[in-house]
C-alpha cells in the first residue's frame, strides 16, 4: 500500500484534510504518550531528589554537631558529592544555611562539603555561558570564602546584570565591608537607575527586602546609615529600620526618630510600627505628634504604639482618637486604652456608656466586649474595681475638664453574668 494519497484522493484539498487528520492522530497519541512518560518518571524523579536532599541535609547538619575528624569529614563530603546530584547538595545546603546563625554559617562554609562545592562553583563562574556563571555565583553566595573574592570582584563587571548582581550579593557574604558598597547600588535608591549602569537590573520588592536584610548594616557608620536611609525609597525605609533592629537596636532608634519626621506618610507609619513592634522608647511628644497626624494610617499606628509603650499620660489623647473618623484609629486607640491598664479601661468603660460621640461609644463597647469574651483579667478587675476614679478629659480648647463621676458598669456586669464568666 502506497502512502501517496493522490492515488486514492484526487482533490488536493481533500488530501490536505486527510493529512491533517493523520497528523492530528499522531499528535494526540504522542501527547498522551508524553503525559504517560511524565507520569511514570516524575514521582520517581521527585522521590530520588527528595531522598538525595534529605541525605545531603543530614550530612551537612552532621558537620555542625561533632568534632568531626577532618579526614572522615572529607571522605563524607566526597561520597555525598558522588552519590547525590550537585543540585540536590546545593539545595540542601541553601535550606540549611539560610536557617543558621552567622557562627554556624561560617563553620559550614569552612567544611569539606562547602569547599568541594566552592571548587565546582569557581569553575562554573568562569564559564562562557552566562547561566553557568549565574549558577556559579549563586553557589558562591552560599559557600564562597576568601579564595573566591577576587573572582567575584571581577564578576561584578559581568555583562549579564543577573550575574553581576548575585556576584555582589556573594561578595557581601564573603567580605561584608567590600561587598556592601557594591550591593547597595542594587537597592532602589532614587535616581540610581539612570546613573549606574550596574543597576540596570530591576529587582522586585521581595528581592530588595531580602537584600537589605542581608546587608551587614552594622559595618556602616551612623552618618553613612543616615545617608543611605535618606536615599532609600519610602517602601524600603521601613525594611531598613527593621534590618537595623535585628542587627542592633541602638542604631535603629535614630532612624525611627528620623522616620517620624519624614514627609512621607508611609515612612511615618513604618516608624511608629517599628517603635511598637520593637518597643523602642519614644517621647510623649513624638507619640502625640503621631496621634495628631493628618493621615489616618499614621494616627492608627501611633495609637497602637502608645499602648505598647505604655504611655499612660496619653490616655486623654487616646480618648480623643476614639472619635476619629477612621475605624482603624478608633480601634487601635480602644485597644491601646485596654493595654494601658486600669486608667485606660476606666476611660473606655466611661466612654462606652456616656461618650458624646456615637462612633466612640460603639468602638469602646466593641473592644470592651471583646476583652470580656477573651476573659481578660485586667479588664474584669478594672471594670469591677471601686471606687471609680475621675477621668481627665481634654476639652476642645485643650483644657482638662472633670467628667461626671457617675459610672455604672451595670450593662457590662449583666453581660459578664450572662456569659457565665466567673467575676471573682
Amino acid at each position: 500500500m502506497s502512502l501517496d494519497l493522490s492515488l486514492y484522493i484526487r482533490d488536493p484539498l481533500y488530501r490536505l484534510a486527510v493529512w491533517i487528520i493523520v497528523a492530528q492522530f499522531f499528535f494526540i497519541a504522542g501527547a498522551a504518550l508524553i503525559a504517560g512518560v511524565i507520569r511514570w518518571i516524575k514521582p520517581k524523579w521527585d522521590a530520588r531528589r527528595e531522598q538525595e536532599q534529605s541525605k545531603a541535609r543530614q550530612s551537612i547538619l552532621k558537620l555542625l554537631n561533632a568534632d568531626l575528624d577532618p579526614k572522615i569529614e572529607a571522605e563524607d563530603a566526597q561520597r555525598l558529592l558522588e552519590e547525590a546530584s550537585l543540585r540536590s547538595v546545593i539545595n540542601a545546603f541553601e535550606q540549611v544555611v539560610t536557617r543558621l546563625g552567622e557562627v554556624e554559617q561560617r563553620q559550614l562554609r569552612a567544611s569539606s562539603i562547602a569547599l568541594s562545592i566552592e571548587k565546582h562553583a569557581l569553575r562554573l563562574a568562569k564559564s562562557w555561558w552566562w547561566w553557568r556563571r549565574f549558577e556559579g555565583v549563586l553557589l558562591l553566595r552560599s559557600v564562597g570564602t576568601e579564595s573566591s573574592e577576587e573572582l567575584l570582584v571581577r564578576l561584578l563587571r559581568d555583562p549579564h546584570p543577573t550575574v553581576s548582581f548575585y556576584a555582589a550579593w556573594a561578595l557581601a557574604r564573603v567580605s561584608p565591608i567590600r561587598g556592601l558598597d557594591e550591593l547597595v547600588h542594587y537597592i532602589d535608591i532614587k535616581g540610581a537607575y539612570q546613573t549606574e549602569t550596574r543597576s540596570q537590573l530591576k529587582l522586585s520588592f521581595s528581592q530588595q527586602v531580602t537584600l537589605l536584610k542581608e546587608l551587614k548594616l552594622q559595618h556602616l557608620t551612623q552618618e553613612e546609615l543616615e545617608t543611605l536611609f535618606d536615599q532609600l525609597s519610602p517602601t524600603l525605609k521601613p525594611v531598613m529600620i527593621e534590618a537595623l533592629i535585628q542587627s542592633g537596636r541602638g542604631q535603629a532608634i535614630p532612624m525611627v526618630r528620623r522616620g517620624i519626621h519624614s514627609s512621607d506618610m508611609e515612612v511615618r507609619v513604618a516608624s511608629y510600627k517599628a517603635a511598637a513592634t520593637s518597643r523602642l522608647s519614644l517621647t510623649e511628644a513624638e507619640l502625640k505628634k503621631g496621634l495628631k497626624d493628618p493621615f489616618w494610617p499614621v494616627r492608627a499606628q501611633a495609637a497602637k504604639a502608645v499602648g505598647v509603650l505604655r504611655a499612660i499620660n496619653l490616655v486623654p489623647h487616646l480618648c480623643e482618637c476614639l472619635a476619629d473618623s477612621q475605624w482603624w484609629v478608633r480601634n487601635n486607640s480602644a485597644h491601646s486604652l485596654v493595654q494601658l491598664g486600669e486608667s485606660g479601661i476606666e476611660a473606655l468603660s466611661y466612654i462606652s456608656q456616656f461618650g458624646e460621640d456615637r462612633f466612640a461609644r460603639d468602638i469602646a463597647r466593641l473592644v470592651l466586649n471583646e476583652a470580656i469574651m477573651s476573659q481578660d483579667r485586667t479588664v474584669m478587675n478594672a471594670l469591677n474595681s471601686q471606687p471609680v476614679r475621675v477621668l481627665p478629659k481634654r476639652s476642645s480648647t485643650g483644657e482638662a475638664t472633670v467628667l461626671k463621676q457617675e459610672r455604672s458598669s451595670a450593662l457590662l456586669t449583666t453581660e459578664i453574668t450572662a456569659l457565665g464568666i466567673n467575676q471573682s
Binding site: Y14, Q24, F27, I38, K42, P43, E94, L138, S206, T210
Partner: protein, 466 residues
Amino acid sequence: MESIIVFTDWFFLSYFFVLNSAYAMLILLSFREVLVEKLSFSRSVLLEASSDRYTPPISIIAPAYNEEATILTSVQALLSLNYPEFEVIVVNDASKDNTLNLLIERFQLYHVEPIFRYQVKTAEVKAIYRSTLFKNLTVVDKHNGGKADALNCGLNVAKYTLFCGIDADTLILPNALLQLARPFIQDPSRTVVSGGTIRIANACSISHGQIDEVRLPKNIWANFQIVEYLRAFLFGRIGWNAIGGTLIISGAFGLFRKDVVIAAGGYASDSVGEDMELIVRIHRKLREEKRPYQIRFVWESVCYTEVPESGQILSRQRDRWQRGLIDSLWRHRRMFFNPKYGVIGMVSFPFFLFFELLGPLVELLGLIMISVSYMIGYLDIGFMLLFISVSMLFGSMISVGTLILEELTFGLYPGWKSLAQMVAYAFLENLGYRQLTLSWRLRGIWGAIKGDHGWGEMVRKGFGSQ
C-alpha cells in the same frame, strides 16, 4: 447563491484557522510559562521573602447563600490556612436554609455591634457575629442582594488592605493563599489582582476541610468538566497571563487590592458575571488613569470547588456564564480594538468577543449553512465530514496537550486508569457534550437579548457526602 456559499465557506475556514492559531499560540505560551517557572534556578531566592513578615494581611470574603451542605467544611478549611495574618468574613446573603444556624452553633458565634462604613453600597446588614473559638472569624448576616452585593458587603466589613473573594463552597489548599499573595510581595506597588487555579472537588476524599485524596469522579458530567477546567486554567489562563491579557480571574478564588476595587465601585450587583466584569473594569480604569499595574494568574495556587453533576444545573451555570460574558463585554465595549487599552483592548477583548461570545453563533450559522447547502445541492458531504473531523480532533489535541501540562505541573489524578480516562473524555467531549454546551450558550445569548438577570438555582451535594 453560489457566491454566498463560497463566501461563507471561506469565512468559516478563516475563522477556524484564526481561532485554532490563537489556541496553538496560547498553549505554546503556557508551556513556556510553566517550564520557565519549573526550571527557574532563582526561584528559591525569591521565595526567601515570601514566608516572612512582609506577607500582607488578607481578609477572605466568602458569600454564602443556601450553602448548608458545604459551609462548615469550607470555613474550617479557611481557618486552617497556612498564612501569617488573615481574617475570614462569611457573608450570609439571607440564606433560606440552615447556613447561619450551623455557623452560629459550630463556631460559637456571638453578636457584636455592626460598626463599619458603607464604602460600597449594599443591602442592609442585619447582624454581625464574631466567634469565641476563632478570633479571625466574622459572620455577617444581611438582606438578600445577590453574590456581588454580598462580596461588596464583605468589602465594607474587611479590615485589611487586600481581600480574597471566594465562593463559600471553595476549598483552598493550605499554602494556596501564600502562593496567591506572591505577586503582591514581589511587586506590591504594581500588583492589583492575582488569581489561582480552580480544581474539581467532586469525588475527592475530604476530612476536616482538607483534601485527603484526589480522585476522578464517576459522574460523567463532572468528568467532562474536569477536562474543561484543565483546559481553561492550564492553557487558557496561563497563556493569557504570559502576555498580560488576563480578562478573567475566577470569582471562586481571587486576591484583590481593596482600595482599587473600591475606587472602581466594587462588584457590579446587577451583573451575573460579576467576577469578569470587575476585572475588565479594573483594567479599564487603570489604563485610563495610565497607572502602571499588573493582574497575575498564579497557577501554582490551587483551590477546589464542587461542580454540577446534572445536566440541568450545568446548563443553568453555562447559560449564566454566557450572559455574564456578554454583559461584561457590552458594558466595556469602548475598549474593543481601542489601542488606548493595550493588549486588553487589541487582543484579549476581540478574542473574547469573536471566539467566546460569538463562537456559538458562528457554529449555529455553520449548521444552518450546511442544511441550506444540502437542500440546494451544493453540499460536498465528503469535505464536510473531513472538516468536522479536523475541527473535533483539534479540540482533542488541545485537551490532550493540556494533560501534559497537568502532568508537568500538578499530576493530581493518580493511576494509569485516570490518565486513560482523561484522554478518553478529551475525545468524547466532542461527541455530544460540546454540542450541548453550545446549545446552553446559545440559550445564554438569547437570555441576554431578553434581559434575563437570573442566576438559576445551584444544588450542592456537600463535601461530606462524597
